[in-house]
Symmetry: C2
Subunit: 387 residues, 2 copies
């Protein structure tokens, strides 16, 4: 079956071009005027940009969007989130993930790195949606839905597709003990899986870890041999300079989630240290109950503004944060995407330049990061297909 | 001519209702099923919320959206903004304000408090658009477009309409000297106009004012007798506890502009002090060149997140920030709006509850503040008319 897609006359790097996509990749960035394809998009008035890779979320938590927010963290978790989660069954997870996938596609996201329960529901929905995802097999001690043996079997028997991979997801140092963390690392490495974990999200997490292990979470996890280039570490808000050097040396990918860190009062991400360390930084929305959406465009702007607020207006430019939200995320998960270039996977958004938010267009990337919203998005393309 | 509008079956305070609007106001919040009107909106699947009042912007600066951003403040002003502004004529202002008005309407804003030049262009556009605005007659020393005598004549001869008022706008303590500030206050009070001014946006402004007058901007302006219930003070980022008490006692309205303060590295608004003082706080987007949009929904979320980031997740709730963005702004400018209630001006937005960003709906206001974007807006109503 011919799966070719021709995007005619679309703005790329300041010029109107005809882009040809085949077998999920850009194959020609300057196709002839008379080129043909199985599917054609008229790109007149549109610009093409890389689609988003959301590197930390809990998709089904859309179910808790707006549920019990504006409350102190512990009251929110103990009186609202946990009692709600106790009642969720597979059908609820399915419903929550379905809303999440609709929202992500409508806001230009083609990949999400998930950590939750009842993963079969989410896997089926991602398969049908045309998106990509890394679905975490969550490991927490004392949690009925995270039985260790069953998880290990699942990880061992899983075969990746071109759009879906499984990850091993020990939740955090405060919910997974030493044995669980070591098991998770072993299981991931024996089976070539990424490791998805929360690290140093709050001051309390760091203090408790220090009290229990004599080390901060980054140093403790490093002492266990868990940190490596296969690790995606969400948050890393309370990480000092020496720890940033450890993360960078081990090749850890950091998923920065500014909206969630702000909304829960967790603190400002240490942009200066993080950027100086050279660690790979990506962006995530976290779950809807602490954001309360899955909109990566908004996450880009929030990150850039939070970087600048303490006084340096030049810190974290639009181009840099767009790279965090696209190419850095794709690279972290082994997808050759995040750039609109020949040979790259065709994961892209087409935005409407006539939308007032995109007008005038002194700088397309600046408009996209600082001004746009999902009303500017006309098409979302993943793996060469229109979603 | 019958100007009635019936909004059928729309969600208000958790119930489906038929709302009747006449002569620009809500006249019945529970109209009979068979009620008729000159214009009818089917509110099935929609919820109604108050429309936005943007209390600080420079509308025509849409022309500089994305122009020279991510640069230090003084380089940005001196090498980018000011040389650009020097070249602007009335036709450019018209074009810039036109884009601004299109963007504001599409994002749910029905009123803006403007400060710029060539105001006749903007006035004509507002008149035609159906929006409301307070248009500032800008006063700066040594600026060719702000001749004092001409301005005074303009203010004296102006007659307000039900949608447009003029304000006296001495730009700031660093661009308007003592005489200009005193003239502005006298002119405003003799003619019953509001005063629109920037106050304590940056540390530099405060330090320079201290060096020149021995007082901070708030204390200096108070010593001149300028502060009063007719003043709208933009920014107020660097304002101490005693100054907040002065602002509150004088009845000054503060326009908080979080995106601009963050993007320019001006600093975090002192939410704790501001809220504790009891001063009336409203929201503004500032101009597009420092934001880079005019989207008040985004401004609400940014304000609430920036309030919480330092540790208190309960500070500035969704309901409170929505009030800043709507009713508080309306009240500051003497419009009896900002609530969906009988007798109030019909300034409203109708949002689509089927949008994934609005799903599920545990809390409509939370979804609107933290999750929505302009793709959720179906209708914008100002003064009882659909824009």
């Amino acid at each position: 079956m011919d799966n070719s897609l021709l995007i005619k006359n679309v703005l790329l790097d300041g010029e109107r071009r005809n882009l040809l996509v085949r077998d999920g990749r850009f194959v020609c960035m300057d196709a002839a005027r008379g080129a043909e394809a199985a599917k054609v998009i008229d790109g007149e008035g549109l610009a093409i940009l890389p689609a988003f890779y959301n590197t930390h979320t809990h998709a089904a938590m859309t179910l808790m969007r707006g549920y019990g927010d504006d409350r102190p963290l512990h009251e929110w978790l103990e009186q609202w989130v946990w009692p709600f989660e106790d009642k969720l069954g597979p059908e609820d997870i399915r419903h929550g993930s379905e809303i999440a996938i609709r929202e992500m596609i409508s806001t230009g996201t083609v990949f999400f790195n998930d950590m939750y329960f009842d993963i079969d529901e989410t896997i089926q929905l991602v398969e049908a949606s045309g998106m990509r995802a890394a679905i975490g097999v969550t490991m927490m001690d004392n949690h009925p839905k995270t039985l260790k043996d069953e998880k290990a079997t699942r990880i061992r028997s899983w075969k990746d597709s071109d759009r879906i991979q499984l990850t091993v997801a020990p939740h955090s140092v405060y919910t997974a003990g030493r044995e669980t963390l070591l098991d998770a690392a072993r299981l991931a490495r024996e089976n070539g899986r990424k490791i998805h974990i929360h690290i140093s999200e709050t001051v309390k997490e760091v203090q408790d870890c220090l009290a229990q292990t004599g080390m901060t979470p980054v140093r403790y996890l490093d002492s266990l041999g868990l940190l490596g280039p296969d690790v995606i570490a969400a948050h890393c808000v309370h990480v000092d300079k020496e720890e940033w050097d450890i993360l960078a040396e081990r090749g850890v990918t950091v998923s920065h989630c500014p909206c969630s860190n702000m909304k829960l009062g967790s603190g400002r991400f240490p942009y200066e240290l993080a950027i100086a360390s050279g660690a790979r930084i990506t962006l995530g929305t976290d779950g809807c109950s602490s954001n309360n959406n899955l909109d990566m465009r908004e996450e880009m702007k929030t990150a850039a503004l939070l970087a600048k607020v303490t006084g340096d207006a030049a810190l974290l430019s639009a181009a840099q944060v767009l790279r965090w939200a696209t190419r850095n995320g794709a690279e972290a998960f082994g997808y050759d995407a995040g750039e609109i270039a020949s040979g790259k996977l065709a994961d892209a958004v087409l935005v409407d330049l006539s939308n007032p938010k995109m007008t005038p267009c002194h700088n397309l990337v600046s408009n996209w990061v600082y001004s746009a919203d999902s009303s500017c998005i006309k098409y979302v393309i993943c793996n060469g297909k229109i979603l």
